[in-house]
């Protein structure tokens, strides 16, 4: 069952209209931007989100779902309050990113698989090893939500965990 447009906040619906207007030749092009907008506003891409965006763009739900499962940035489950992305790729690895990653895990108690998001037991932090974040000269680099941090050694990890607690 799809909720009518007015059930979503008015400013969100307006923002969606503006985004769609950027693609006069094909509104399907707006899918990625709408998914970003939704995830930033509501935290994750729910089934409802997929149905709603598909309906708004006059597409089938599968057209949206296949994007959510293809693009690594979209998530179908809620994340912790603070999303921690640690760069894993070569330059950061040479700079010690596995120590940085391990330290985040130790301090927050998050446990699990190395190449997927893991959430701390208190639900505060979701930590993820991600691929190259394009700031290889200041390795290792970390993103705390949308904030970018460079040369994150173990001491800096402690400060960041505090700051985003």
């Amino acid at each position: 069952m799809i909720a009518p447009l007015q059930e979503l906040p008015e400013d969100f619906v307006k923002k969606v209209d503006e985004i769609v207007s950027h693609y006069p030749a094909s509104q399907r092009s707006a899918s990625l931007m709408l998914l970003h907008e939704w995830q930033e506003r509501f935290g994750f891409i729910s089934e409802f989100a997929i149905e709603w965006i598909a309906q708004r763009l006059e597409l089938q739900a599968i057209n949206i779902l296949e994007l959510v499962t293809f693009y690594p940035m979209f998530r179908q489950k809620p994340f912790g309050k603070c999303q921690v992305r640690v760069c894993r790729t070569l330059s950061c690895a040479l700079g010690g990113s596995s120590k940085t990653y391990e330290h985040f895990k130790n301090l927050t108690g998050a446990q699990g698989d190395e190449h997927g998001p893991i959430t701390s037991p208190d639900g505060k932090y979701t930590i993820e090893f991600v691929e190259c974040l394009a700031s290889c000269g200041t390795a290792p680099v970390v993103m705390m939500n949308e904030d970018f941090y460079e040369s994150v050694d173990e001491k800096k990890v402690e400060e960041l965990v505090q700051k985003y607690s």
Binding site: L32, L67, S91, C132, G137
Partner: protein
């Protein structure tokens, strides 16, 4: 003493007091070149770019003037699109981030005149999803440009309309491949298209003629128009014109981004003089010279190249790694490539098996999954390298298998990702095979029993 930097693109970047807003850009002569361009015929702008011999800065080094010449605006009935490829995600490369964050108007100015020259009415900046702050900065800069009528309807009273929008990717490396990027911009999975027939210049965005240029390339267009194509071509060396932003990371004392005339500096000068030498006084072991996909070069090896001397005769020269000038042609001649300008340095304390295992994990994560040799091959390369680096190798058999898998991806896929993923494996094995054989031979035997 190493050659001094020549900062054209990075001229204002990191200068104390220089900010990324319109006022500061205008105070520093911003948008004056756009006014000059608007006083020129569209074809004259394209001619200047051709004369400049500017080569694309995204990785392939393709001639920008030639790329533009594929589209003849006077004959095309469909809309023409221009897309700025700001999906910077080649490991080792971090130049576009600096331009977008610190001097976004330089990009917009270059982009507006490029659009004007090619009769483009609607353009997009495809920025990678993780650069959310960069997207905010670009949107603000675009708003400022609209307010000053450098963008929008009837720009500067010339009767030319142009709109530029920012489009965010969502964490997929394959979007840097131009046809994958176009699919992604159409709201689909970023599956690259097969060429032919889907050359962007003919069947690009919405099956219309499309130009895809890198951030640094579009910034260069501004400087080509400012100084004239012929003057631009005098910078650097023949066929390698202009400057190049070199991003150095890994085991050097002063990693960072530096801008030099193409070919004016050698690898040795760059590492030892500009970047302060190898970390901890250790020795250089290997270099990846143009982003992680480029073939690795070994430090203690002689590289033979054929070059024309002053009289035009072909002569053979032998170079050490440190003698190699950082230009497109020489790096290609020694068996690698200048690529995106991302240089990753590894010192003699580094384990080549682990370095390659790290890279192959990247490619396994980033394959789009469209072509079987790549989708399956990158996964097997990752698995083999994982067990070899974790002490479960199966001796030379594993190394031969790794080689075999790599050799059967390149050339059998729709896009160049197949090559990008196999070149590191092939080149690491070629240059450091004994390291791999030794490691694969140190098996615990556990895995072997299980299989």
């Amino acid at each position: 003493m190493a050659t001094a930097q020549r900062r054209i693109i990075l001229k204002n970047i990191d200068v104390p007091g220089y900010t990324n807003d319109m006022d500061c850009y205008l105070k520093n002569g911003g948008y004056e070149v756009l006014k000059k361009a608007f006083g020129m015929e569209q074809t004259a702008i394209k001619d200047e770019v051709k004369k400049s011999q500017l080569r694309g800065r995204g990785g392939a080094g393709f001639s920008c003037g030639l790329k533009w010449s594929f589209i003849d605006a006077s004959k095309v009935t469909k809309p023409i699109y221009l897309i700025c490829n700001a999906d910077e995600s080649e490991p080792g490369t971090f130049k576009d981030r600096q331009i977008i964050h610190k001097d976004p108007h330089q990009l917009i100015e270059g982009m507006v005149m490029s659009c004007y020259a090619n009769n483009v009415k609607l353009a997009y900046i495809y920025i990678r999803g993780e650069m959310s702050e960069g997207a905010v900065i670009l949107n603000r800069a675009l708003d400022e440009a609209r307010a000053k009528n450098f963008l929008g309807k009837n720009i500067l009273g010339k009767g030319y309309d142009l709109e530029i929008y920012v489009h965010r990717g969502a964490g997929a490396y394959i979007c840097g491949e131009e046809t994958g990027l176009i699919e992604s911009l159409e709201g689909k999975r970023a599956y690259p298209r097969i060429k032919p027939p889907y050359f962007p210049a003919v069947l690009g965005l919405y099956m219309c003629p499309t130009i895809v240029n890198n951030v640094e390339t579009l910034c260069n267009v501004k400087h080509v128009i400012e100084m004239g194509g012929e003057n631009f071509a005098k910078i650097g060396t023949p066929n390698n014109t202009g400057t190049r932003i070199l991003c150095v990371s890994g085991d050097v004392n002063k990693p960072g981004y530096y801008e030099f005339e193409c070919g004016s500096i050698t690898m040795g000068e760059l590492l030892h003089e500009v970047c302060g030498g190898i970390k901890g006084g250790r020795k250089l072991k290997a270099i990846i010279p143009g982003g992680s996909s480029s073939k690795v070069l070994r430090a203690d090896q002689a590289y033979k190249i054929k070059q024309k001397d002053a009289d035009g005769n072909m002569v053979e020269k032998s170079l050490t790694l440190e003698d190699i000038p950082m230009d497109f042609d020489t790096l290609a001649a020694v068996g690698s490539m200048a690529g995106s300008g991302g240089i990753i340095v590894m010192d003699d304390s580094r384990d080549m098996v682990e370095c390659l295992a790290n890279l192959s994990e990247f490619y396994a994560h980033e394959s789009c999954g469209q072509c079987t040799p790549c989708r399956e091959g990158v996964l097997w390369m990752k698995k083999i390298l994982h067990r070899v680096s974790h002490g479960h190798g199966r001796g030379n058999e594993d190394i031969d298998l790794l080689q075999n898998v790599a050799d059967n991806i390149a050339g059998r896929t729709i896009c160049a990702f197949g090559e990008a993923a196999s070149w590191p494996v092939q080149s690491f094995l070629e240059k450091f095979r004994p390291d791999f054989e030794k490691r694969a031979g140190e098996s615990s035997g556990l895995e072997k029993k299980l299989s």
